[in-house]
Symmetry: C2
Subunit: 440 residues, 2 copies
Amino acid sequence: MVAPLKVGIAGLGTVGSAVVRLIEQQRGALTARCGRGVRVVAVAARSKTRKRDVDLTDIAWARDALALANDPGIDCFVELMGGSDDPAHSAIEAALKSGKSVVTANKALIAKHGLRLASLAEQHGGALNYEAAVGAAIPVIKTLREGLAGTTINRVYGILNGTCNYILTRMEREGLSFAECLKDAQRLGYAEADPSFDVDGHDTAQKLSILASLAFGTRIAQNEVYVEGISSIAPEDLRAAEELGYRVKLLGVAVRTSKGIEQRVHPTMVPKTSSIAQVMGVTNAVTIDGDGIPPITLVGPGAGGAATASAVVADIADVASGTRALPFGRHSTKLRETKKAPMERHEGGYYIRLMARDFAGTAATIATRLAEQKISIESIVQRHPNGKLDTDESDTPISPVPVLLITYATSEDAVHRALHAVRADKVITGRPQVIRIEKN
Amino acid sequence: MVAPLKVGIAGLGTVGSAVVRLIEQQRGALTARCGRGVRVVAVAARSKTRKRDVDLTDIAWARDALALANDPGIDCFVELMGGSDDPAHSAIEAALKSGKSVVTANKALIAKHGLRLASLAEQHGGALNYEAAVGAAIPVIKTLREGLAGTTINRVYGILNGTCNYILTRMEREGLSFAECLKDAQRLGYAEADPSFDVDGHDTAQKLSILASLAFGTRIAQNEVYVEGISSIAPEDLRAAEELGYRVKLLGVAVRTSKGIEQRVHPTMVPKTSSIAQVMGVTNAVTIDGDGIPPITLVGPGAGGAATASAVVADIADVASGTRALPFGRHSTKLRETKKAPMERHEGGYYIRLMARDFAGTAATIATRLAEQKISIESIVQRHPNGKLDTDESDTPISPVPVLLITYATSEDAVHRALHAVRADKVITGRPQVIRIEKN
């Protein structure tokens, strides 16, 4: 019998405590799975006295995370403190440099320092596992890192932020505004007091940059993600999407194009019949498009103490059983530099909503301006004050009326130029709303 | 640089040829991923002269699968011949006994001989990977074997047969009969000339028995799966399901109950809003319910040359890179004997359709017979000849009318006894249709 794996855990918040409990509960199962025991032998946390619903008898307290990482009495350092930099960063570096394996749920840190940490893990022979960093219990890291090694991946996209999907789901189902739903999400603990990291798309961008690296074998480039959040989405956009056969989701999309890797986070219209459109509430989902095979979609809880702890313990079990993969699915020196496809050159269909001063005149102007940019219109409709769609152009209202446009595939650049011209024509009031369409 | 992994492939049908092509196409990517090359050095197939769309230059031909398995010039034996017994079985045994790793897509063989083969792999140090055996490119084996090591799994269920799901989807969408859709499926190559293995549920049962073993850490028990196929499903059942908020899917369900492990394959009503209900056509899906966490659903192509080859190559890549897990996620001696929960004691809700000679009288008799078995009725409705549902009991038609019942959770046994009594009362004509309901 091999000696048990000795685990040290830095951070005893919701997830850290859940991991300690789960390892204890799963003691027998883990031994059967790993061929050896798994024991939490030491922990580090800010407060030793804080009340936690977990039994810490016989577990040593390290002075701090760094001391724990350097403790020769542990084999596997589990970082659950969060934060993209110190103290988490130096503790992980220290653990890897001493040949220990590291398990972390820290997306911010992996997105920022993943390449350097992977290289340290490879040099010193430890594992670096981070399944919980993206999609919590959804095994998306393992799937991209190992499960699809036989496939050229062309696109990976998903709903990676539960807060945003919760807000969009409520807005759609109840016709509420973004602000109302955000307030509710905060009250229910689904959104932070400062929600900007989630609702502005930055959380999704960090996760996407990790998935893109695994999918395409490129170096993580979180600063090269185009990011747009959901705060400008109005109930009328969701209503229009519904009537046009779409749903609006905040997607992170990474796609291989002839111009390079496109990484973007933005509200997206997806066909109502697609797998991703069915994902409601705080649930997350990732779809992977492999060359020559139909898409694979993974759906599940993307956050929460228990779901995150489940992924962390699976990562620890891989360390214990010796199931070892390289951190980014290939040696870090083999990760290619990301060639960024500029967002202006993104191509796809667009939904455009504008407030026309006069429907007939505006329609003519818009048609002209779009034609000048070689943009083809799939549909142009006017929304009556009663909220129903109509294509009857004979209407000549006095107050501004919403006009909804769906374009065929065109470029971001062309859309911007056309809308710039329409605004200069002074036939609309306010800013046009633009939502990209993603087909499956 | 480590020497390349030398691969021998037995079976050059659609999948085998696709694997040879994919390894060649992915040559650079596989080397980057695995830290070593992957080379197909020898093959065995029934016909050496058959036309195949694959370049076999520089690849040796073995006399037969067994000779290939015993060839000291290969490291990894890939079995793509099919069939639960010889020649595939003895070839795999020989390969494992000589310390080679084995990759197979053969569900029938794993379901029948998996335990013994796992034990051989463990004794002699080779890998035994079979991701493609269930759900083709959907990484469900890896997810259960490694990704959810930290979670107690309570239930795993899914759509595991594309042929059945294709037929049910067409029946539902177009109101066609089972026979008509089967004929179309055969014409399109989605169903075999002898479709019974698929449509009677046996293919699903084999796959389910493998998933159950991985999910619960038990020995595979394919003979202890309750199996019922889809041939008795009528368009009116699908119409009723639709109106009652359900869809009918052929599910394989393995669930941990207080009476043991329940393994069953049967047409199932699932709530229309569930992830599994969205899965249409030949697509497969598996949902995993872990203790204390929301369900995880994996959706994707469950068959097809390219999708199967993708999973086979990923398994080969794991062998090449040394990413090694035990065949059933734990040592085969640690797999517990399956304690089978008898189907008569299955508990759940039921949909029952019967042809009543007289609605009012039959309703009263049914209500009495069900009450005697302590079965509570959630709804009882009569279908008018015009096809619409109605609960108006005042109708007294002359010819038999369909009556639809939904029960609250009860036992299989109670339902059988109640229906036996109803038939003895002679208030119905023909056999009652019974479809189990699975809630999420």
